[in-house]
């Protein structure tokens, strides 16, 4: 296999992990809510995208529509359910698990067990004597773009400052005039939109079914767990390490060992680094400053 081939395998694995985890990481990191319906938000995004593209609209419109549909759903869910559960981790788990069941079974009732999927756009390209899917390459670029965008959103904007302040100390932020409820709401909608975007981007590569969200769950949870408290830095670092392990084992042995390896490395990481990659970075950063 060529060097580019190896890089391609890694970036494919990395992209999947990052995109699967980002929405969950932001909602968890910022709000302390474990969204077990993450997979179903991804599924909703994929359905919306597929329906829109099947209506004859171009792919970018469909993908945007997928993200918006999930954002809208996130907004409704936040108003109805999540807003009553801010800071209540265990309750939010049960509630979001319930939401996930309602969404997947509801989709089954609405659209049946499967739906005509859309094909992957953009064909293939020949690099170094071997062919690769252009869309999969584009996905990696898009994933990096999304990470940069989210980084800018949380570091360079008014909303980002308020969100980070709320994350650090809700009470002090409130006393300084930050509407933390609004911040939580907006964060949840952003997380939902990211999940929807993931579904939208992967919709052309997958079979569209009400249970398709499950395909993302394990990857997204292990990535967030290894990442630690900082949703962006943590996701990127753990996506990188886990992606490397997963792609290396998948290519050299088999997809089965790739999956096993992903879980074993997760166990090792949370044993050695109980605060995840973010904790490690913060610790070394603090040491250097001393």
């Amino acid at each position: 296999m060529s060097l580019f081939g190896i890089l391609y395998q890694f970036s494919d694995s990395f992209t999947f992990l990052i995109l699967a985890a980002l929405g969950l990481a932001i909602i968890f990191g910022m709000m302390g809510i474990i969204n077990l319906a993450q997979g179903e938000f991804i599924m909703v995004g994929a359905y919306a995208t597929t329906i829109i593209i099947n209506q004859g609209f171009p792919y970018p419109v469909g993908i945007l529509g997928g993200a918006l549909a999930a954002a809208l759903l996130g907004f409704v869910m936040d108003r109805l359910i999540i807003s009553h559960l801010y800071q209540r981790v265990l309750d939010s788990v049960v509630a979001t698990w319930g939401i996930s069941l309602v969404l997947s079974e509801g989709m089954l009732q609405l659209f049946g067990p499967s739906m005509q999927s859309v094909s992957m756009p953009l064909g293939s390209v020949s690099i170094d004597g071997s062919k690769y899917s252009v869309y999969k390459l584009l996905l990696t670029l898009l994933a990096i773009g999304v990470v940069i965008l989210i980084y800018l959103l949380f570091t360079k904007t008014e909303f980002g400052r308020k969100a980070r302040a709320t994350m650090q100390s809700r009470d002090i932020s409130e006393s300084l005039g930050v509407n933390t409820k609004a911040v939580y709401s907006e964060t949840f909608v952003i997380g939902s939109a990211l999940a929807g975007l993931t579904g939208a981007l992967y919709a052309p590569t997958m079979t569209i079914t009400p249970t398709m969200g499950n395909n993302f769950m394990v990857q997204s949870f292990v990535t967030v767990m290894c990442g630690g408290a900082n949703p962006i830095l943590g996701s990127v670092l753990s996506g990188g390490v886990l992606g490397l392990v997963n792609s290396t084992l998948s290519v050299t042995i088999s997809a089965f060992f790739g999956k096993i390896g992903l879980l074993i490395i997760t166990i090792i990481i949370i044993r050695v680094l109980p605060t995840g990659f973010t904790g490690l970075i913060e610790k070394t950063g603090a040491r250097r400053r001393r």
Binding site: M1, G5, Y8, Q9, D12, S13, F16, G32, I34, L36, V89, L90, V93, V94, W97, E105, L108, G112, P113, S114, M115, Q116, S117, V118, S119, M120, L122, G123, S124, V125, K131, Y132, S133, V134, K136, Y202, P204, T205, M206, T207, T211, M212, N214, N215, F221, V224, M225, G227, G228, A229, S247, S250, V251, S254, A255, F256, K259, I270, P274, T275
Partner: protein, 424 residues
Amino acid sequence: MRWKNLLGVLLATSMVAGSLVGCGSANSALGGGSADAAEKDTIKIGSLEDWTGDYATIGIQKYHAAELAVEELNKNGGLLGKEVELVAYDCQSDTTKYQEFCKKLVQDDQVDVIMGCMSSACREAIRPYIEENNALLFYNNQYEGGVASHNVFCTGTIPEQNCEVLVKELLDQGNTSFYTIAADYNFGQIMTQWVDKTVVENGGVVAGEEFIPLGTSQFESTIQKIKDADPDVLVCELVGTAQASFYEQFLKSGIEDITMASTVQIVQSYDHKTITAPALGNMYVTGGFVEEMADYSDAAKEFVDMWRAKYPEEGGVYMEGEIEYTGIMLWAKAVEKAGTTEVEAVIDALESGEISVESAAGTVTIDGATHHAIKDIFLILCDENHELHVENEIDAVEPYWLRDELKIDLRVESPNKQYTPIDE
């Protein structure tokens, strides 16, 4: 320390999830089974299929087929002068549900026969119970073969029928090297063994194989390895909706000149309708039935029309739906021959070798020695537009493996176990 909580919470929820789903199911039964089973004024057929969950595409088809078969039986005056009743439960693609509802069908509903099971895992989960209670199970589904049980009849296509025909036909076309990717559980592994065995015995070359974990939806590493091996034929024994994602990714990887082959795709869950063309273009499949055979034979057309009239909304009727229907008809024939629904008498009738049905998929006969079916196998080509063409028909393919290679005769003695080529 939140992420530590996250781990704990995940574990806790998965446990709670398991237990909650467990207790929720007790009242999810929909069957019209009356409690006074003692009176036996009707003949009862039990059905265990998945209406929801991962296997729903096939499960709903099979459940509908059972409904249709019971309706037809009653239209023609029932069985032994009695009305036939279907007692059906949704097993939710969950093996433990099969065990639970199987007990319910046998103990509470006291059905005369059970039709059902989709995956081999659920069949093996209920088979011991069926045997201990001397009940009767018709497993109407393609599977990896090898079940030798006094109480189980398998009417679906098995490897010596579909795998052998598929590989031999493709070798005849001039292909030599075969690469197999298969779902990583007993079905996929045993099917792969059959493919490899048939390839080697007939002068072909095994270029490689990979087993894919169930639920895998991203395939770039698998595609890379296929690229490196560069085979003539790629045999795909992928199972479940997630794994069906492979084809679109394979198509867009730019690989050409590899003929695809399968015994699972298309014939089982009409993937050519759910996957956008031309991802399955140039794929050969072998199996018992596809609804497109309506253009091929009158019997098929009659069956498909009957299905369409009753289930116009449904995606279609394919191999497993058809064989569920035919399985019920085979059992009904045996009941008529036996003159009773009593299990031993019906098994005797089925073992006589005289129970045969003219189905939409041709003549199907129960082979007494193996409890499997002698049936016609069709080689079907899916073209670039995802239209299906019957390329060849091989009549009366025998389920020979248990009988000829393992010397098993269930009429004489039943080992009540599943044999696999792996234990040989």
